[in-house]
Symmetry: C2
Subunit: 200 residues, 2 copies
């Protein structure tokens, strides 16, 4: 049965979400239109508003609707600590651990030469300038404990050391399970790893 | 970390979908805004279009963007066969089995007195009028094989028999696993059950 263009289009749009297969897409479509049109409208409007209004923070790159995100704009955050993460989701996980009160730099990726992601794509020049401009007294590398995350941390360490051999550079403690992605790690493990961060 | 009103609203809207928890809602939000804004816009527009344009077919109650759905409007469907299903999703599953060429009546529910769903809510008077107006030669009850689905089929059988004792009334064969919902049954089982439909 063809559902007709409007329903087919909605099923197709759901299928573009990660982890949503054809049956789930169909079930979500029927559920919303049969039982909860309000939720359909709420989600539709929220998606369009977010796609229109959400941009990257001019300081840390995270997703925000302001020019400067709430964390960067917060005068109570310790500007002497700069934590480097791969994604806004990783940043959120660290925030939820309540173990960190400094600022962030969000790479929006990690070094992956095979995918064409190098130092320029991650804006590492901007990170270098910021880390060595004098305010930062400790640079915390919170990339994932995967080969690519390790390589990214290593590259940043070498790059910053070349400019300022004195700057303290640390990495999250290996309380985080090897091979795990930060985003999927429970917040207590993250808190432990933040407390035990070690010299890079 | 507060994500800000626009992102929080999107996470909340995702959470209203069945089967989507807080972590998945967050992950979908970050994924779309970081990697696939086009998909966010496509889904947002598809949701609003569907919520605005999709209504119920005036003949069979299924979800459609026309006054009369494509199945009811198709002159090649056998109007002598009328299949009663609980939901548009159940109807779609039967269509996908390719074992049926008649028309449908979609109850949009099943009898459930404790939830306040009785014969009136299911528009059974309309079903009775249609089943006994002279065109229909067989009424096929394809409600779920659950206690409520069985009760609904039984009620409809008694109701139609009282008006027209001669009308042939059948039920899907019990090839469908007992206790299962139609929507989740594989189409081959549905096809078998359609072929083996038995007297009610």
């Amino acid at each position: 049965m063809k559902l007709g263009p409007t329903l087919d289009r909605l099923v197709e749009a759901f299928r573009r979400l990660p982890g949503i297969g054809p049956r789930t897409a169909q079930r979500l479509t029927f559920h919303l239109l049969q039982h909860d049109r309000e939720a359909a409208v709420a989600l539709g409007e929220a998606l369009l508003a977010a796609a229109r209004d959400i941009r990257h923070c001019a300081r840390c790159n995270t997703l925000t609707e302001e020019a400067i995100c709430a964390t960067c704009a917060n005068p109570r955050r310790d500007a002497g600590l700069l934590c480097v993460v791969e994604s806004p989701a990783d940043q959120l996980t660290i925030e939820q651990s309540l173990a960190y009160s400094g600022l962030y730099f969000v790479l929006l990726g990690r070094l992956s030469p095979l995918d064409g992601i190098g130092p320029r794509e991650l804006q590492l020049e901007r990170l270098l300038a910021r880390a060595t401009e004098g305010t930062v007294r400790e640079l915390i590398l919170a990339t994932s404990f995967t080969p690519e995350g390790d390589a990214t941390a290593h590259y940043i360490t070498e790059m910053v050391r070349a400019r300022d051999p004195q700057l303290k550079i640390t990495r999250l403690a290996r309380g985080v399970p090897a091979g795990a992605e930060l985003e999927y790690t429970d917040v207590n493990t993250i808190a432990q790893a933040m407390l035990d961060r070690r010299a890079a």
